[in-house]
């Protein structure tokens, strides 16, 4: 199962991130998880939100370069070693991870957002190995 990640290109300029967040606030789009990676000149803000399409449309209207891409939101036990176990499965299948970020809510489960070079393959492998993936909507309800 894939989830839609909202990615926004932002220039490294004072107040740019806040402008993005303001657009989301104005449209009542709630952020569930985020990762901000940057170089000296620009950054990519990757977001898991409850209303990805709406968020993208509104950001585009406000002049931000944004897009939706497929990522996996993977549910793993909230305890030491479980992420390492997951990676073993992924590595063993020759999949290259492009980036990953996490969020942990509650006490029994944690979630990581993962983007691999082959999105379809990673999804198949996770299913085969009985690893649970969820959508943004499901995540929002947790």
């Amino acid at each position: 199962m894939f989830a839609k990640q909202l990615t926004v290109f932002i220039e490294n300029r004072n107040g740019r991130l806040s402008e993005v967040l303001n657009v989301l606030k104005e449209n009542n789009v709630n952020i569930l998880s985020l990762s901000l990676a940057d170089t000296t000149e620009f950054g990519l803000l990757r977001l898991i939100v409850d209303k990805a399409q709406l968020g993208k449309d509104k950001l585009q209207e406000s002049g931000f370069s944004s897009l939706l891409s497929d990522v996996s939101i993977i549910e793993i036990p909230h305890k030491a070693g479980s992420l390492q176990a997951l990676l073993k499965v992924i590595d063993n299948n020759g999949i290259n991870i492009e980036y990953m970020y996490g969020l942990s809510i509650g006490s029994s489960e944690a979630h990581v957002v993962l983007k691999a070079n082959d999105t379809k393959k990673v999804d198949d492998i996770l299913t085969e190995n009985g690893v649970k993936t969820i959508t943004c909507e499901e995540l929002a309800k947790l």
């Binding site: 990640q5 990615t7 290109f9 932002i10 220039e11 990676a37 170089t39 000149e41 620009f42 990519l44 990757r46 002049g63 931000f64 370069s65 944004s66 897009l67 891409s69 492009e98 983007k115």
Partner: protein, 433 residues
């Protein structure tokens, strides 16, 4: 369509007219303009020394500095009460240059622009929307009178309020657009934002662009937005000489026909001032031979081009000047290298991942010039490697074309400034401490 029979005269007949008008003009300025008399006396040349067209080379040059030194009316050949219009250049460096027109000059101007509009495919059937700023700038009114004369319906919408411009285009079924190339692109962008597809929903078939360089890459970009069938031609002029109407491109796209019965062109070596033979590249020098108010003689345009005298397929015998690759005024000197902004533009337009808008920033770091080019992403991506790839691609292309290392900054779409008149894309901060 060819507007006037003078455009197809055999060369001998044309030269007869030129010589007659040149003699008359030189006589007149010698008599009426003290600054000219002084210049000619210093050069040891009298009006009667002009016996053939070749003798033109004996006359001294006039430069923009002469216009400044004689600001505002010192070079005029008529008393002020004969003037019916005064225009001025923007004067970005120092005092503006002032030009005055008599009733006769306005008729000449109209005639020259009518010819150029016809060269670009205009006819009485057109609805012509003029998106040049009306005012002291000569572009808008020049095109206005020329197009009106051929019977087109003028929509003098000027610049600004781009959404309304699109509405006029839809409601009035505008078929001819007058704008700078960059504003023509901006208008297409705005149309799309409004849900109007320029190629389908609008009826623009002809674009007469000017006041900015039209590079081949820019022409292609315009076709992308406005359709491949759009007839795009550029024209040339400058307020000192008259405004638009000095020369214009015909639909053969093989250079700009100069209205030679009004302007005599020469190409000189910009360093020595020596006249170069036809076909060689050098600075364009223009002599106005039918102007009353401000008949400039051997005016140095600072534009680098070549002249061709072979007959054009369109049937006109008027000589052609090569479309400019850059005004020497626009040329930047970066770390000792001559760079025309149009070269940078060409690189940006060749990268499909980028939009057509850009900004060039020059700074001084220690003793070194630093060149930064800001560009807009046309598509979104969620991958750093893709962004790095685009940046490196632009950098390496700039390095090949300019021989310079440039810093490339990627920006979100629609963040760089848009221009309605002449685009000001270069920010030279090297002099500012």
């Amino acid at each position: 369509m060819i507007w006037s029979k003078e455009e197809t005269l055999p060369r001998e007949e044309l030269e007869k007219i030129q010589l007659e008008r040149l003699k008359e003009t030189v006589n007149r300025v010698y008599e009426k303009v003290p600054a000219y008399r002084k210049k000619m006396d210093e050069a040891g040349v009298k009006p009667e020394d002009i016996k053939t067209l070749k003798d033109l080379a004996k006359l001294p040059f006039v430069t923009k500095q002469d216009m400044r030194d004689n600001y505002p009316f010192g070079l005029f050949a008529v008393p002020k009460d004969k003037l019916v219009r005064i225009h001025a250049s923007s004067g970005t460096t120092g005092k503006p240059t002032v030009v005055g027109y008599t009733q006769g000059d306005l008729e000449t101007w109209t005639e020259c622009v009518s010819r150029i509009a016809c060269m670009g495919g205009a006819s009485e059937k057109d609805v012509a929307q003029i998106c040049f700023g009306y005012g002291m700038f000569t572009g808008a009114l020049g095109l206005h009178y020329g197009l009106e004369k051929i019977g087109a319906a003028i929509v003098p919408s000027s610049t600004g309020n781009s959404q309304k411009q699109i509405m006029y285009m839809q409601d009035f079924e505008t078929s001819l657009l007058v704008a700078t190339p960059s504003y023509a692109l901006r208008l297409a962008e705005v149309a799309r934002e409004m849900g109007v597809e320029p190629q389908k929903d609008l009826k623009v078939k002809i674009a007469l662009v000017g006041s900015e360089l039209l590079t081949d890459a820019m022409r292609e970009e315009m076709h992308k937005f406005w359709g491949k069938d759009l007839l795009i031609t550029t024209n040339y002029g400058m307020s000192e000489l008259m405004g638009p109407g000095v020369s214009g491109e015909c639909l053969e796209h093989c250079g700009l026909h100069i209205n030679e019965d009004y302007f005599i062109p020469e190409i000189i070596d910009p360093k020595t001032g020596e006249v170069l033979p036809a076909g060689e590249q050098g600075e364009l020098v223009i002599t106005c031979i039918k102007k009353e108010g401000l008949p400039l003689i051997r005016y140095r345009t600072k534009d680098i081009t070549r002249l061709f005298y072979d007959k054009c397929k369109c049937g006109r015998t008027l000589c052609r000047m090569e479309n400019l690759c850059g005004r020497s005024d626009d040329m930047l000197k970066i770390r000792g290298v001559n760079v025309f902004p149009s070269q940078i533009e060409e690189v940006i337009l060749s990268v499909s991942e980028l939009g057509p808008h850009y900004e060039i920033i020059l700074e001084r770091e220690g003793y070194l010039d630093k060149l930064t080019v800001k560009v807009e992403l046309a598509h979104s991506t969620d991958s750093f490697s893709e962004l790095e790839r685009i940046k490196k691609l632009v950098q390496s292309k700039l390095k090949i074309i300019l021989g310079l290392d440039a810093k490339v900054m990627l920006e979100s779409p629609n963040t760089l400034q848009r221009f309605e008149g002449k685009a000001k894309r270069v920010k030279d901060l090297r002099g500012i401490k």
